[in-house]
Assembly symmetry: C2
Homo-oligomer: 876 residues x 2
């Protein structure tokens, strides 16, 4: 049987798995000699056993009794004593912070006897003692007994309009009786007078709160595993509400918004922590404590310095002053904004507390990505009307619309719109595409709106529950009686969840400015610059860009791209050139087909020349044409309707187009005639592209072309194309690598064979994910991903982060077996996962040579590649 209970003196900050964040840090502070009220922690393991079996594990109660006895001995107080009672708090504390999600019971130990002892302890402060007692019954009643609302009603009735401070000891004593009556009525039992019974029930209630619905929802959103359980901390009560020489406060060792060092925090005199949260009185800035209680203030500053030096990071702190005596109630490494994260990391380096490796590990690609979105001007005079969940980052401004039809209509008229819905469903897809941003009043980060918006890279705030949205009336109402109707402009901040009335000016990201121009003027940008430089020096993975034009290629270089990992050629067949592709498809014979290809070739040559020039000697991986030909033709439904309505008057070209569309129509085009299949079936198509590459490369001696064949599933396919391409290159006197996408599961499964014919592999994880899971992204994100995230089939969409067990296994197999065949085989990834932090770590782990992603994500990939390398070095 494991040890279920740890005294504060027995734990330390690294035992979060067991003691939760709170318990571990209380222990750490205790051992640092800081003034922590004595107490002990019941482990999360005890919670897990309780939740599995429905009863407290054997031995736990005995352990608790021993620790209680020790606590009584240490404090010289006794639970339930009418003279000098020991009171304790019973608090939840999981490994990961879940603020407000679980339960707490304070003042455990009070009953009709010990309330008198508490009065004595507090200098015959009867009012305080009875107030504390009624608080216990109220919290216990709600948390342990599940009684909602009635206590608050009784309190209001008693007050009859008076302020809290106007109530006296007798009032609270009467309230205690009323509360006990409520408990009796609601549960059929008396409020338990036995302090040990109070504690036992409170512990069970905290355990149970792990599986409260709101906790479950929160964990799912934050991707916290469901089976961790919570620890329970039992801590001697100290009171900030027993007079003006008492109080409670929170502090940060530096500004969590900017990272600047200094004294940041709030203090509330004669109050408990709950009062701060409830906002019954206004707090004062922490600096004012120097005036109120100079000794405690000095001590606090000294403790803050100790903590920051010890944790080597920003700490946030909760403290209480009980009649002039400072007590530390909590500390932890504090949350911070993305910008502060970079600045703090660099400051700590400058202070000599951490090295640059550690600093790079202290920031994340997600934080960097947030810094790269345009944001609302902080100095603007914006009226915030509510806050929802920051489901998909960005800053969007537009007219509020309440239906998809209207969104599409206005967008077609050139208007910017924000789609506002209670929640979205698959029918809203067209509206979401048309809108600049999406705002919903229901649903969390895995709701339809959130999932689909993230997939689109569209700004989204979801679950803004204060809003009442009426699609019928085309308006929503916000707190304070604000009504926003269709066409009124709102601004939505997907990075913070804030919603503003009117147009808030948007400012470009200074970090993007820095990448674009190289200037590092403000402190944030200097911090980013320094960490990125170090990141580049420690990462092993190269970072390339997915870029199809000279412009994209140039941006990719500015963002630090070391080459192009995916240049899609099909984009080059759109616009004005679509007509040439139609000619190719409608070609009646070899001659017409060759004429159509001949017309495309010089255009392609110019495309490639532009890109080679922009990349100036860096490698450029060009993927030969991939999508099915019918993508260049009109939609079959539209065209059929047009031809049917035209009747006899249909044009000859329309008639021929419809024939072609019907001939090329496929049930499942993603699984049809595309990629290498097209190259093998349409004579001359790939050859035209390779000739254009060769000619462009021949003109620019620095060009480093890598020709990539899409959709290969068998080595024989690749051999045929490679042989043809190699011949063309030889004739042109141009050297180029010839490799393949690994995007069909079979390619991964037969990678050992395919490597015989490939100079490189590039994992096309978009298609590989679609085929490995058997779902098409276009179809499924809207129709069932929300449900799947809710059901926990996956914790995050496999299109966002590589699914390690399925798709990842294929990548691992292909990397290993490809390199077994051809030891120097170059390996990369060019799906969208190449810019996803977790996926970059995976790519590092399986030994890829590079990741390729959109230019905008390159800095993220560079940073995460470094973090992956640092983590690997630490764990190896």
């Amino acid at each position: 049987m494991p040890k279920f209970v740890y005294d504060f003196t027995e734990g330390n900050k690294d035992l979060k798995d067991l003691l939760g964040g709170k318990g571990a840090n209380l222990a750490e502070m205790t051992n640092l000699g800081l003034p922590v009220p004595p107490g002990f922690t019941i482990t999360a393991e005890a919670c897990r056993r309780y939740l599995a079996d429905g009863t407290l594990p054997g031995g736990l109660e005995e352990e608790i009794a021993e620790h209680l006895a020790a606590l009584e001995a240490q404090t010289g107080k006794r639970l339930g004593s009418p003279e000098d009672p020991l009171l304790v708090s019973v608090r939840s504390g999981a490994k990961f912070s879940m603020p407000g999600m679980m339960e707490t019971v304070l003042n455990v130990g009070l009953n009709d006897e010990s309330v008198h002892g508490l009065a004595k302890q507090s200098g015959d402060n009867d009012r305080f003692a009875w107030d504390s007692y009624r608080r216990l019954i109220q919290m216990f009643g709600k948390t342990v007994l599940g009684i909602e609302g009635r206590f608050e009603d009784a309190l209001d009735e008693l007050k009859g309009g008076r302020a809290d401070l106007d109530l006296d000891a007798a009032d609270f004593q009467r309230l205690v009786e009323t509360y006990k009556g409520i408990v009796r009525e609601e549960t059929g039992h008396e409020f338990p007078a036995d302090p040990r019974e109070q504690m036992r029930l409170a512990i069970k209630a905290v355990f149970d709160s792990w599986n409260a619905p709101r906790a479950i929802v929160y964990r799912r959103q934050e991707r916290i595993p469901a089976d961790l359980g919570t620890a329970v901390t039992i801590c001697t009560m100290v009171f900030g509400n027993c007079g003006m020489d008492s109080g409670t406060g929170v502090a940060f060792t530096r500004d969590p918004g900017s990272g600047q060092q200094g004294v940041y925090g709030d203090y509330l005199q004669n109050a408990q922590g709950e009062d701060v949260v409830a906002g019954i009185r206004n707090t004062v800035p922490l600096q004012d404590l120097a005036r109120i209680d100079e000794d405690s203030y000095r001590e606090l500053l000294s403790i803050m310095e100790t903590l920051e030096n010890h944790y080597r990071d920003l700490c946030d702190i909760e403290f209480t002053i009980e009649r002039g005596k400072l007590w530390m109630l909590q500390t932890r490494v504090g949350k911070r904004t993305p910008g502060a994260a970079f600045r703090i990391a660099v400051q700590l380096v400058d202070q000599g507390l951490i090295d640059l490796d550690e600093a790079v590990l202290r920031v994340t690609g997600d934080q960097l990505a947030h810094l790269m979105f345009p944001r609302f001007d902080r100095n603007a005079d914006a009226k915030q009307i509510t806050t929802g969940m920051n489901a998909s980052p960005g800053a969007a401004v537009g007219k509020a619309v309440f239906s998809s039809e209207r969104a599409v209509e206005l967008a077609e008229q050139g208007e910017s719109v924000i789609l506002v819905r209670r929640e979205t469903n698959p029918d809203d897809l067209s509206g979401m595409i048309a809108a600049r941003g999406v705002l919903t009043s229901r649903g969390g980060k895995t709701s339809h709106a959130a999932v689909v918006a993230r997939g689109m890279g569209k700004t989204c705030v979801c679950g803004a529950e204060e809003l009442e949205v009426s699609a019928r009336d085309r308006r929503f109402t916000a707190p304070g009686g604000i009504v926003v109707g269709e066409g009124e402009v709102i601004s939505v901040d997907g990075s913070t969840g804030a919603v503003y009335l009117g147009e808030v000016p948007v400012v470009d990201s200074s970090v993007v400015e820095y990448f674009e121009r190289g200037s590092a003027e403000d402190p944030l940008v200097r911090a980013v610059d320094r960490l990125m430089a170090h990141a580049d020096s420690v990462r092993r993975l190269e970072v390339r860009a997915n870029a199809d034009t000279g412009e994209d290629a140039a941006r990719a270089r500015r963002f630090g791209g070391q080459g192009i990992g995916l240049c899609r050629t099909e984009h080059m067949f759109l616009g004005e050139r679509r007509r040439l592709v139609e000619d190719l498809i409608l070609a009646g014979g070899d001659e017409e087909r060759e004429a159509a290809l001949g017309a495309l070739e010089p255009l392609q040559r110019a495309d490639f020349a532009e890109i080679f020039e922009a990349m100036d000697g860096l490698p450029v991986t060009i993927r030969l044409i991939d999508p099915p030909l019918h993508e260049f033709l009109p939609d079959i439904v539209e065209l059929s309707v047009r031809v049917a309505l035209a009747g006899e008057e249909v044009s000859g070209r329309d008639r021929r187009l419809l024939e072609a569309v019907k001939r090329l129509h496929e049930q499942n085009p993603m699984l049809g005639l595309r990629g290498v299949r097209l190259g093998l079936v349409v004579p001359g198509l790939f050859a035209m592209q390779v000739r254009a590459i060769a000619a462009a490369a021949a003109r620019s001696r620095a060009a480093r072309a890598e020709i990539m064949i899409p959709l290969v599933g068998a080595v024989q396919e690749l051999e045929h194309v490679r042989d043809e391409a190699a011949g063309i290159l030889r004739e042109a006197g141009v050297e180029a690598l010839i490799g393949t996408m690994i995007e069909v599961p079979r390619a991964a499964l037969t990678a050992g064979q395919i490597a015989e014919a490939a100079d490189f592999f590039s994992f096309g994880t978009n298609d590989l994910t679609q085929m490995t899971w058997g779902f098409s992204r276009d179809d499924v994100e809207a129709s069932f991903f929300t449900k799947y995230l809710d059901l926990g089939v996956f914790g995050v969409s496999p299109f966002e982060t590589i699914d390690r067990d399925g798709v990842g296994r294929l990548i691992r197999v292909a990397a290993e077996e490809g390199r077994r065949t051809r030891p120097g085989l170059k390996l990369g990834i060019c799906g969208e996962h190449g810019g996803d932090p977790e996926s970059v770590h995976f790519c590092h782990e399986v030994g890829l040579d590079y990741v390729s992603c959109s230019p905008f994500r390159i800095p993220v990939a560079r940073l995460e590649a470094a973090r992956a390398a640092l983590i690997a070095a630490r764990t190896s």
Copy 2:
């Protein structure tokens, strides 16, 4: 350096890899003491090296010289001798028979001197000697020097209307001079007089003929590996054309058509083998040899008995009688019809030559399948007009049509049609679907027509090259001036390749009759009965049926099915019930949806009850609904056009239907909302099906239901459905297994996890193949499979036979890892591969418990399961 040349005395029948079929069997006969003209064989390894390097491998010519010297010593003759010359034949001989595909040169060793020696040997038969000499130049000229047509023209000119036998020695001598002139003119060189040079060039020509276009095409069709190469046999010439006491013949040790024992063969007096092939004179039945040359006849019968006892199988034989002396020129285990294969195997058992295990190995599932097709009445008076390739078996009768449009038109009028085309292309798909059979004049077994027809299970004869098909004139012409126009009835035999004019009566297969009724009256059926009984006793794999109705289920049992491996429930939603599914889809809320499900439930219950009854205690695996809902709705293009044309007058239901169709429309429905996804997203759908199963099972105590969840890719999906289903079963008091299809690659890759929640796995190899290769069968068979088969990307469609390297690897991984998690995990396959012989062997190898296939394929699977077990036992 390996040994390149083997004397006949050095080889044996098991050395076919090295010596080819011909060389190995000549060696075997030599060692049996049979009268084989002496000679030696050059190995296929020498050929492979020659083809790789372009020159004869070092040492080969020396070895040949040694063996030639030995041959001269043994025969007492000398190459090129003007007195008693040694003449030899130079013949190809690959491991697998490739009749007529490669080259042969006879009479090597003749020149202006040795021709006189040959005359002397043959009793001063000058005519024979000069005839032989001109034959050498003619064959050599064609084969080695590539001169086409001119020799035949010169012979015709010389004959001037006379018959061959009217030519005398002087004529042939003149012809030799003419031929030498042709060689000189065509090549610029003299015909080589040096016999060793003749032989060297002939050997190289035979090697080269391995890569002749027709040989390449043939190998591809017959799936013979391209890199085997051919051996070359050098054999002392014997002559059947040196008088009426000479002749040549072929013989079978039993009837290759029926398997009956007896003397079968043909004999031609005073002729060489080529003359029989050329058909210049009519052969006589082999029995007549008893009259012509009794001694040789007796000796031949004795040799045939020796051979059959030695080879323990039907042998076919080529022999020559040279002036009363019998020589064996070739033997091999003979080809036979499928019916004969069964009968012979059983006869050999009865004769004690082989045991039943061996007999089962002597027949194949393909042969059995052929016996199960209806066939044309052999006794009918049918006019065969040509023969093509037997591309897809069956017997089809219908009106000839020459375009797909016409095929569809007539088929819609209820006519049976045969689509006749030069070759088919993807545009012919609708016509092929409409037709009873397909006939083409171009293309082999991997042509578009052949591949697509096999995929459809449609009768097809392709490459009937004697036909001239004119789509414009809507007719074809056949040899003999026969013209067949549109609407004229023809009959096409896909099992033999025969094409008949008019309607040939079709008779049911006696083998199918036997399975259906159990009677075993004719010898063939008795043989099948005996071998199937033995097969059932030795196989390990169970065989189940894919059956969706009580009728199918009953047939499956008659064919030996041991249960149902796949009962598709979506078929139960078609026909009159389609309206109910529409109601379900159009349902506006929970209530309407539940009403629609409620209406479907009793119908489903009745469906299942019928099947449980038919299977009477055998297991029934029921797959919950799999396809996307929109499959039950009208086609989006048709409906859009209808609604557009109706304008304002569109009906309310059509409008609602179009909305639903648009809402449910998917880009790639195969990868969309279907299978378990549908079950998780549409509340109550799976539950309704499980309730129906439970209720049907509860009524019939013998019912053994196995509930199968389609399209699972993650264990979490299965857990949700299983938990719900298990609850329903528990409530109903019914026991049933709950398992999953493995048809998504990710399911195979995470099988170890999925097995936690599955009682069984059933490999859905149709979808697994589609997703692993990334192609949809509907789309790709027509658009690029032909090309892929031609290019050798695969040797056989992966939809016919499991692709071992890709799909097979996933199956192996899933089987192993599933059983590692759950040792007793039941494993089966229910894709169409379950009835494919090669795939059944694979299933046996990877340790599946059962295969499931269409009822008609069950006997094939039973037989191949036994053969797989026997082969495994032999090689283990």
